[in-house]
Symmetry: C2
Subunit: 433 residues, 2 copies
């Protein structure tokens, strides 16, 4: 299978999508009104209503997409890896993090740089994130006029735009610093892991402290005019997500001759986790499995399937079965009609364009019959789903899911505890233990 050039996949409206992110700073209309939760969960914290009286300013709703990000050009690979290896939530190296991290990242940079060169010179994740977000905001402006206008922001964990850059832009655009305003941290990892969404939220909490002052432990507390944060922290079985995955799978299955189609084996592939993280009680493996099962239910179990895990690195044990090994083993048994489905990421990135397409499929010996479904990227069904989910969240009055208040049983991270308390708000902070 040849390398797909990510740019070739961008829809025509992409340029418009990008352009729409250049909205005027310090918007003049602050339309966030008193919200009546349409449904409540018993554990949830309600965001206090934002009014002109309490904030003294007007402004739009900021929709902030959180993701790991990726280098948009090969020149950014070094910085990207350096940040990645210095993230103790992702790669816990203890007190030696600041020494070992740079060594590891420096050693891997040339190889990874070549991988990004091989997929077209950089990751398309920024372009897709900005496109998805701006398109979602356009829909939100229509279906949720009471919280309009919605303004798209992106905050990556390891690449530009970093959380700091996003937060600075928010402040420049008229949020916070005595002017209040509402922002939604919307993770683009559908399934929650402490090493992905957790790390992004911890980073958000850190920059909130640095740029807006001491934490108040109350996500909704904006008496001082701080930005009023809430988060969509997981959405593993949201109907829009499931429908988008299912439609892309059906489209890929349609490429096989009809007499072979029903015998194709579907291999759902998610980024693996070290067993130390799994055994600490990270909720990710179970949430990924929930997504897979929901997709198979939507497909009426039309095909046989397995869930497998990719991107293991280093000598320590990771959760398996490994995607690459699974493909090899099925191929060696004679099952060469296989469809790979990246189930834990919403746009193309190095793990799809390089690892699956070039390594796993390219080296399978059957690049014509081992295929990968399109990533969600510009899927209109997916983007409509994002908007529906965001509207549900905005209407709910919740600052986070109840699950987000529960630390992993084996968690020792005080940073996790503090950032969860920040999102919990004063009323629920005592629940975080």
């Amino acid at each position: 299978m040849s390398v797909r050039h990510p740019l070739a996949k961008l829809p025509e409206s992409f340029a418009r999508g990008l352009a729409s992110t250049n909205f005027p700073a310090a918007a003049s209309s602050f339309a966030v009104s008193r919200r009546t939760p349409s449904h409540t969960r018993s554990l949830a914290t309600h965001v206090p209503p934002v009014t002109q009286d309490s904030t003294g300013s007007k402004g739009p709703t900021a929709m902030v997409f959180l993701n790991m990000g990726g280098p948009s050009t090969t020149d950014e690979v070094g910085d990207f890896l350096s940040r990645l290896f210095s993230d103790g939530d992702l790669i816990p190296l203890g007190r030696l993090q600041s020494y070992i991290g740079p060594l590891l990242s420096a050693r891997r940079t040339p190889k990874i740089k070549q991988q990004y060169a091989d997929i077209g010179g950089g990751s398309p994740i920024r372009r897709w994130s900005e496109y998805q977000n701006s398109e979602m905001c356009k829909i939100l402006d229509k279906i949720s006029p009471e919280t309009a206008p919605h303004k798209p922001y992106v905050a990556f964990r390891y690449a530009n735009p970093l959380t700091e850059e996003m937060y600075t832009k928010l402040l420049e655009d008229g949020f916070g610093r005595g002017r209040g305003g509402r922002a939604v941290a919307f993770t683009q990892y559908p399934q929650y892991s402490c090493s992905t969404t957790g790390s992004s939220i911890n980073e958000l909490w850190k920059w909130r402290q640095r740029l807006e002052g001491k934490p108040t432990r109350d996500a909704g507390g904006d008496a001082s005019g701080m930005i009023q944060w809430s988060t969509i922290d997981r959405w593993p079985t949201h109907p829009g997500l499931i429908e988008a995955f299912a439609q892309n799978i059906e489209a890929k299955l349609a490429e096989y001759p009809e007499d072979r189609r029903k015998n194709v084996v579907l291999l759902f592939s998610a980024h693996s986790l070290p067993m130390t993280v799994v055994n600490r009680g990270d909720p990710y493996p179970a949430e990924v499995a929930a997504t897979v099962y929901a997709v198979m239910q939507r497909l009426n179990f039309s095909n046989r399937y397995r869930l497998c895990w990719q991107s293991q690195v280093g000598p320590q044990p990771w959760l398996g079965p490994q995607t690459s090994t699974t493909v090899e083993e099925y191929v060696s048994k004679g099952q060469t009609d296989l469809v790979l489905i990246p189930i834990a990421f919403t746009s193309d990135h190095i793990e799809t364009l390089y690892e699956l397409d070039i390594e796993v499929i390219g080296e399978s010996g059957h690049a014509d019959t081992v295929k990968r479904v399109e990533s969600l990227n510009g899927s209109p069904v997916f983007i409509q789903g994002l908007a529906d989910l965001a509207k549900e969240h905005l209407n709910s009055g919740l600052t986070c899911s109840s699950q987000n208040l529960l630390r992993c049983p084996g968690c020792k991270s005080e940073r996790c505890a503090e950032s969860k308390k920040f999102l919990a708000g004063d009323g629920q902070a005592s629940l975080v233990f």
Copy 2:
């Protein structure tokens, strides 16, 4: 928490349920009619219709519950463990299985015998299985008259009644040996694992060969008057199962004072697997997670939750987080309102009555606030669900799920391949690779 005596939990109808299993041998009416599948899955094998012409005999539909079983008295513990340690599907010891297995089982017998003594002198699993099955068959006779009468059988993997005993009884009762007849192997593990349901089906396939002659590779092929087998091999999110779990959880939550109820943490606990089995591609962890998510959706995510794994033994790595450690860690952090939910087993057994109740809860230091939900046991909602599921299967015309035709990517067991081909039938045997 004191040991609950299993007999104390049996409903009044239990005696009637037991009595109903003493049905007359060689029943005279064979009511299995031509079945029109109400829905089909593309990969499924259809069972050829059984008619008097093709079988030359009449008979009921045999409903055979498969489970691991447990010793009903402490005297049976030795044999139980001996069989358990000689099962290569459960504990793969290679060519030394027949030497090492007995040594391991002999060493563990006194300890395990004491555990069964501590829970009242034996496992209630046989009594519950016979009760559930006979009650289900009564319902089936009403809601599926075209396949009535339904006759309940139990086949345990390691305890009486063993598969051999069940099969012999089937033959005595007028099934097979030129007389045909239909039997459904209904696993009582809702989530499929090669080490549980797979092992039971392999055992069934072995005894079919021994007692009915050479395999024909066609589960439906009964031209020779062999028993026509089909299987319900997994049902992780069946609505009856989910509803029964949810009702038992709600009942347990109601025992907490109202002001604490919403802050109770739910800990779903399933038997763990060695990582060698997980990494081979066993579907069990993902199917267990699907059950958990379905239950939480039914509960509208009323409480925070985690999935954890129990019963690890030996030095090799198993899937975590461990149930016992999870309870210890949450308790040590101050969260003492915990509800344990055995999510992968449908009746009480040593892992609930001893491991959870006596070890985990008993040693938690908070036996008043760390609780366990009732097992499904005699739940009428659960038994109605079993009947609904069985009726769907009987109507479907399928010999097994499409998933059952897919071996694990890392599977090397020829026994697995052959038993899957047996269930696949001639038309689909080539799909099993």
